[in-house]
């Protein structure tokens, strides 16, 4: 089979070691970018003359909203890969991303509420973005609940992947319909009417924060996928072997052969 190389990298055994080496770097990148982002949000960005200091919440609200959507896309991407090539690791990545994505969706809802109160005088308004985020949150919950309800890991992987794909086809339709509904009912809409000179600083701050969140999400997903690999593969030989060599895992150990244990025997 021509995809032998692909199989090597998508083998949970190889990936487990690789992920373990990458995680600290992603956490470090997230911490550095987060510090830079916070510096921009609190010290470089000036006070908004309409909203006062409350507007600083967008530096967490907007990146969280962006990333919550992006992670759903990534999840669907992994799901599609898994269904197309039947690689277990892709399904595991999809499940590993979901809780982090749901957490960020919750963050964007929570910060949206805390921003809404001083800005519009209400904890919750049916603004197009907040409403879409709420539905996205339900989509994440549905994905996780479905996977949790299925005992057979193979079925859980595939069923989750399918609902993620169905969801990702629907997200644009949902967003469009909510927006349409919102304008028809003259609902509140989030507008950042700030001076153009300030917009550049704000955009930079939001981008740096989004990058920080991105790095964090990768680190968290990789840590989670390592847990999933351990839970699923606890019967295979490579896990036993590696656990003996836990403090300094050598990638040169003959792991590849054992990794395909379940498919290969």
């Amino acid at each position: 089979m021509s995809g032998f190389n692909l199989y090597k990298y998508s083998s949970p055994a190889t990936f487990y070691v690789l992920a373990g080496r990458l995680i600290p770097w992603f956490y470090a990148a997230a911490a550095l970018l987060g510090a830079a982002g916070l510096y921009v949000s609190f010290f470089l960005a000036p006070t908004d003359f309409q909203q006062g200091e409350a507007y600083r919440i967008i530096f967490i609200h907007v990146p969280a909203a962006w990333m919550s959507m992006f992670i759903y896309l990534a999840m669907a991407g992994w799901a599609a890969l898994g269904l197309a090539f039947n690689t277990r690791l892709s399904f595991m990545m999809a499940s590993a991303l979901a809780p982090t994505g749901a957490m960020l969706t919750f963050v964007s809802l929570w910060t949206g509420a805390l921003w809404g109160k001083p800005t519009w005088g209400a904890w919750w308004v049916w603004d197009a973005r907040l409403t879409s985020e709420l539905i996205l949150f339900f989509l994440y919950l549905g994905f996780m609940a479905l996977q949790a309800a299925i005992d057979d890991p193979r079925r859980a992987d595939r069923a989750g992947a399918l609902i993620a794909l169905v969801g990702v086809v629907n997200v644009p339709i949902i967003y469009f319909s909510v927006k349409w509904w919102n304008t028809l009912h003259q609902g509140a809409s989030v507008s950042l009417n700030t001076a153009p000179s300030m917009a550049a600083v704000m955009l930079a701050g939001m981008l740096v924060m989004a990058l920080a969140v991105w790095m964090y999400a990768i680190a968290a997903a990789l840590s989670r996928v390592r847990c999933i690999i351990l839970e699923r593969e606890r019967n295979s030989q490579w896990v036993a072997q590696m656990l003996g060599a836990e403090p300094h895992p050598h990638p040169n150990l003959p792991l590849e052969g054992e990794g395909t244990n379940v498919e290969g025997i």
Binding site: L83, L146, I163, I174, L184
Partner: protein, 221 residues
């Protein structure tokens, strides 16, 4: 084609012999819609404004309630396996099953809707728009819901899970369906809403049978 007409006949015969199931969902629809005036008060102006949305939400819940009948019984008694093993393409018989499900659970909702609309003081033209929107919307609900029904086959707590999976996906149908009635009430017109609803129906009709076929394969393994 012979197989599909046999399938439709079988589904409709079964529904006729189990009339109670379809009637339960219909009564649920009526009761949910009738609870709203009790909850928000009998102000005719308010009820008139809410009417379209309330009937639509009730239709959505009733459609969801009947999803359990779509595949669960066939799964339990082995018929589903036999259907998968027929030479007919799964997409075709799945579309047939969803059509039968809509005839049994969707059409009665459309026919009952004007009665509920009158409770909310909707005028004749508004009632017509309500029925049109349901005619375009309820098949989409059956199609989208079939994915959830197929994925949750045989799971514990499947009923609640279906609602969690399916209700977020129903949002666009609800928005355009209720929006059409709103458009008729406010005089803004409802053509745009109805054509968007039609667009969703076409899209759902083209895509969901494939998704359901994949979901059934996954669930039956």
């Amino acid at each position: 084609m012979n197989a599909i007409s046999a399938l439709l006949r079988r589904e409709l015969t079964l529904a006729m012999r189990r009339r109670g199931d379809a009637l339960t969902a219909l009564f649920f629809f009526v009761i949910v819609a009738s609870l709203f005036p009790l909850g928000v008060g009998p102000d005719p102006k308010l009820l008139h404004l809410m009417g379209g949305g309330v009937v639509w939400v009730a239709a959505l819940l009733a459609a969801m309630l009947s999803l359990g009948r779509l595949f669960a019984a066939d799964h339990a008694d082995g018929t589903l396996e036999q259907l998968i093993l027929t030479p007919t393409s799964p997409v075709v018989w799945i579309a047939g099953k969803i059509l039968a499900h809509w005839l049994v659970s969707g059409v009665p909702l459309i026919l009952m809707a004007p009665v509920l609309g009158i409770q909310f003081g909707l005028s004749g033209a508004e009632l017509a728009v309500l029925m049109w929107s349901l005619l375009l919307g309820t098949p989409a609900l059956s199609l989208i819901g079939a994915i959830g029904a197929a994925l949750t086959l045989g799971l514990r707590g499947g009923g609640v899970l279906v609602s969690l999976l399916v209700l977020p996906l129903y949002v666009p149908v609800l928005i355009f369906g209720a929006g059409a009635v709103d458009g008729a009430i406010s005089g803004l017109g409802s053509e745009a809403h109805l054509s968007l609803l039609g667009g969703i129906l076409i899209l759902a009709f083209m895509l969901t049978p494939w998704a359901v076929a994949a979901a059934l394969r996954i669930s039956i393994e």
